[in-house]
Structures are given as structure tokens and as C-alpha cells.
Homo-oligomer: 374 residues x 2
Amino acid sequence: MTSEQTPRFSVLARDGNARVGELSMNRHSLQTPTFMPVGTRGSVRTITSQDLEELGADIILGNTYHLMLRPGEKLIKEFGGLHEFANWNRLILTDSGGYQVFSLEPDVDDDGVTFKSTYDGSYHRLTPEKAVEIQNTLGSDIQMALDVCPPLPADKEVIELAVERTQLWAERARRHFLNLKTELTKDQSQFGIVQGGLDLSLRRKSAEQIVEIGFDGYAIGGLSVGETREEMLDPMSESTKHLPLERPRYFMGLGDPAGLVEAISCGIDMFDCVWPTRLARHGTALTTQGRINLSAAKYAKSDEPIDPEFTENSTSRWSRGYIRHLLSVGEPVAGRILTLHNLAWTFAFMQRAREAIMSDNFKEFRRKTLEIWG
Amino acid sequence: MTSEQTPRFSVLARDGNARVGELSMNRHSLQTPTFMPVGTRGSVRTITSQDLEELGADIILGNTYHLMLRPGEKLIKEFGGLHEFANWNRLILTDSGGYQVFSLEPDVDDDGVTFKSTYDGSYHRLTPEKAVEIQNTLGSDIQMALDVCPPLPADKEVIELAVERTQLWAERARRHFLNLKTELTKDQSQFGIVQGGLDLSLRRKSAEQIVEIGFDGYAIGGLSVGETREEMLDPMSESTKHLPLERPRYFMGLGDPAGLVEAISCGIDMFDCVWPTRLARHGTALTTQGRINLSAAKYAKSDEPIDPEFTENSTSRWSRGYIRHLLSVGEPVAGRILTLHNLAWTFAFMQRAREAIMSDNFKEFRRKTLEIWG
């Protein structure tokens, strides 16, 4: 199952619906399932692109909403695009801006959405076409079509309207993306987004509509936005079922181990989330035995590394007690150390998931993961 | 000129009074003149001990005042001392706590000083003996005798009393240090501190008193505490003149290039200051052409590295424009990048100073430095 479409994607191994894939484009190849750290404002908070290289990150996410407002996509273009601006030579996926915008209670109409900048209160407008143009200007490798993403819980009519507009906007976004394609941008790709809230028939309808339009990859949006994990599972599974096997699938906004194994077991390939990096900045570390908050007094005398069962990363040289001290006196480097740890831990978790799939052990990997994180 | 005293110290080259020395003890050897980054609370703000190793730092400073209060020297001892606690295997110099305490308007008497914790308002007491014990417990390589350090300007009587108490306290500190010396601590060393404000005869008197007691090295304190650089020069020179040539000399609290060349030209060997790291956290970079504040709008479109004439450090991969963006949206990693840059720059500056001395070019190096930084 290989396709000549960009990104090139081939499935290397399967275990149930779970799969290991190879995704490659422009600058870089990577194995899926993969986790993409969130570099909101052209930087993953507290760390640099050099740190991300050393961590082995393959692809990071940039937020169109933030970047179009500060410093503005035109300025970034003057530097040669977001890769050059942030000095990051592997892959970048940009979101469409929609997710952030819809959290600001914007004015939505059939044509697009008008919202207020959180920076200075000025008004801005995004349309499907505008979102394509901004992402082209940023020069991301993978860009997202503008969708309508309502927070949950939501009334059925809200979800129905979201599915309808998402489909119309996806058509416009795809047409505009293809129209603007040039020799220069021919290796950039565009993913469509499935909506539908928790309603299975709307999930199916939305998936079929987006696949019908035809994108380079498919994302599941509108989940992990306020519902429980239990509520998320069926709509996630239903959305995935109707996506083509030969293209990459991306679940937007998921990063906890329990959620990840569930999504991987449906056959999802790509993930992003602020969860591991935000937890880190609040003193929480991911460990093989679950999450721990190192601000707690009980760690003051601990000379153990952050996760005694995961010492491959350079951050294992500092003890829990030392990090607890840094947190308690407000030293900013504590957030950096824990960000490096949580990302390294998450990348190792994804690596273990891939190995489990390749050795037909994913069921057991999922069971063990849910035992601790479920 | 080599001495068997700890630290071992030998002068390798001289140019006028300026000199290049080799200092070695316990764990590490280094060349002087050397700059010691300030790791106030067991960490140089925004960076880790791994970063310091990669920068080539040889020795860092720890603040006894902060460490005795948080997390407390006894806790640090449970980890095996400050080196193990912070996972830093090169040298550590600890101050006596006096400098910070005297900035808090404490109650001073002939026996010691009582002060209020900035953390929780609790009262604490430092005496010359207590300062030795705390620094022994922290396990620093070089410790400082407790002195009386009045901020400038100050009345003559204030300075006279400070010189007198500094001498009495130095005697007690030295006696206590030598009494407590064991096989285990035999490679730890203790420096005495010269006071005397801006008064040349008091400077001379204090220097002679402290040398008379006999320490492993000598520090010039009570300068760079509010006076102009012009005012500082003669008292600095007068203090240094009466120190033995064969022992290391340390100027406390100096880190700007103009101050450094002046002090080096007097024959001073060691320096510490929060200046380069504090500037970094406020967006200011040291460059070959002087300091620049990268928050300024004029850098928004600059694709030049931080200092186009100093690109040996890894931080030169990011442009002034990118860092300006990070500063303007409050990304904490901007402080990290500039801290790494300013320290690398300062270390390179010290390296150039050593090379100038070794090639008998220090006069020219000083002239050029003062042209830009004077």
C-alpha cells in the first residue's frame, strides 16, 4: 500500500487496526504512529529547535491563529518561511486557525469567521481560502483545511451545522489549495477534517463527505474537546472506519497515553497535544508508573531520577529532589527539564507502541497502558 | 611561581600586571582570568548543568544565603553536597552569604549578623563560624570568609567599622575553617575578602590585615556596589597591589567587559556577576559592537545572528528577528537562548583576554574593549 501522493505513506505492519506506517515528504521521513509537539508561536515552550532535534522529534505543529497575529505570516515569509524562521529543518504541520478561533466565540457565517485578536483586540477574518493562503505563506509541509469545531457538549443542531459548514469549507479549501499549487509548493500537502460531535451517523456522514472531496490525509477533529474518554471512543472509531487505509490519519489534540493507545488501536497515525508540555510547566512528569507532581514535599529527599524505569534521556541526570527544589523556588529551568523529559518519554512511548504493533503485541501493550493510565 | 597550597595556582604568563594563571583543585583545572556564572539557587537561571558543561564553564558560584534558606544545606548534604545535588562535576565557589544579607539591612553586632528570610520572614543568624560550617556542609570547592560589605556611598565611619569587623571575622573564619579541616575536606579552600570602600588607605589596611591572616586566595569585596567605574579603579588597584602574587585574586560582582579589562589589567584572576545572565533575561545580548536589546522593533526583520562577529556558539543558528519575535510574545525560551549566548560570549571574551596577555597584546585588547564598552 504505497501512494505517490504527498506525503508518501506506506503501511509497514498491522496488528488489528493498529498500524505502523512510514510517512515521507520534502525534508524528512518518519514512522507512524507519531507524536507532534505543539510549537504554538513558532517555538515549543521552554525548548529550542536544537532541543527538538536532540529529542528526535520528526514533526512539530505550528498554530496559524497565533502566527498570523504575531509576528504575522508575511514577516515569516520574509525569512523564507516558518522552517527558516524557527531554524527547524524537519517537518511542520500547521493547523488552520479554526480550533483557536472557535474557542473565542467568534461570528461565524457561511463564508467564514470573524474573531478578535487576544493580543490587541483587533478584528480578523478567516475564510477557507484565507487559511490556505496563510498556511502557504508560512510554508508548512502539511496544512489543514478550515473546519468548524464546536466545543462539547453541544446541541445536535450545532453539530449538524458544523458538519455542513465543514464540508462546504473543505470543498473551497481543497479547490483553492489545488488552484494555488505551483512547482514550488507541489510537495506541500493538505489534510481535511472530520467533524460530527459524539453523533455516530454525523461522524460517518462527515467522514464520507471529506473523503469524497479527496485530501492528502484525514484528521479527526471535534473530539477531545470536553467529553470523557469513554464518550470519545465510538465517535473516534466511527470516524476512522470510513477513512481510506492508504492515507495518513491524524487525531487532533490527543496526547495522554490512554487516549493514544485507544486511537492507535483504531488505526490512527498522527497526534498532537499540549498535554505533555503543559503538564511539564506545572511540575508534572510522565513516568512508567503514571504521572507524578514533583512539587510535592514527598519528593524533597528523593535522589531517584524522574522516571527510574526510563533513564535513556539526558534529563535522568537530575534527581526528583533537585527538580522539586527548582520548582519550589521558581527556577524556570524546572519547566525546561520536565518538558524535555515528558517529550522524550512520549516519543519513547510511541516507539514502544510501534514495536508492539510490529511484533503483534499491541493488544498487550494497550492493556498494560490502560492499567496505569486508563 | 607554583604553590602546593589548594587550589594549586601558577602564573603562566604576564603582560604588565595582567596575568594568565592555571588554577587546579579536586575535580578540575582551569585557566585564569576566568568568569564564574552565578547559580544563585543551585542553578544558573534558565539553563542546566549540562548547558554549562557544553558552554565550557569551569566554575560556577552558589549563593549561601539562598541555599541555607531553600532547600537548606542539610538537605543538600543528604544528596552528597551541592555538586551531586545540581549534578555539576566541575568547580563551585560559594559566597559567605554576607553580600545578600547586607542588602537586607540586617542587625549587625561584633559577633555576627541577624537577618530576615526573604522567603518567609523568619529570622536567621550568620556568624563567621556558621558561614564556614554551612559552606563545608554544601561542599563547595572554594568558600568565602564572612565579611561586612556596606553598599556605597557610605560614611567613613561605616567603612572603618566594616574593615575592622571584616578583619576580626576573617580571623575567626580562618581559625574555624582550619580547625574543621579533615582528610575529607582537605582539598577545600577558603578565600578572605578585602573591604575599605573607596578609601585608599583603608583598602591598603584591609588588604594587609587579610593577607596577614593568610588565606588560600584573596577577594576584593565592597566594590561594584553603587559607585561609578571611574571611582572603582583606584581602590581596586590599591587593594590588589597588596595581595601576594602567587595566590589567586577574585573581584566579587563584576562582569561587564570594561570592568573586566580594568580588573584584569590590575592582575585580578577570577570574576562573577549576574550581569550577563540578568541582561539576557531582559532581552539584551552582548555583541562585539556593544550591547543590543533585541526587543526593539528594528530587529523584527533582521536575519542576522545575535552577534554577526561571534558565531561559534550554537545560538547563532537563530536570527535576531526570531528572538525578537520570541521576546515580543513572551516565549520563555528567548531568555534561555540569550543566556546561552551571553555566557558563551563572555567566556570567549575571557579567552581573548588570556590570548592577548600571552601574546603581550593586552594593552591593545584593553584599548579596543574600552572603545566599545567604556
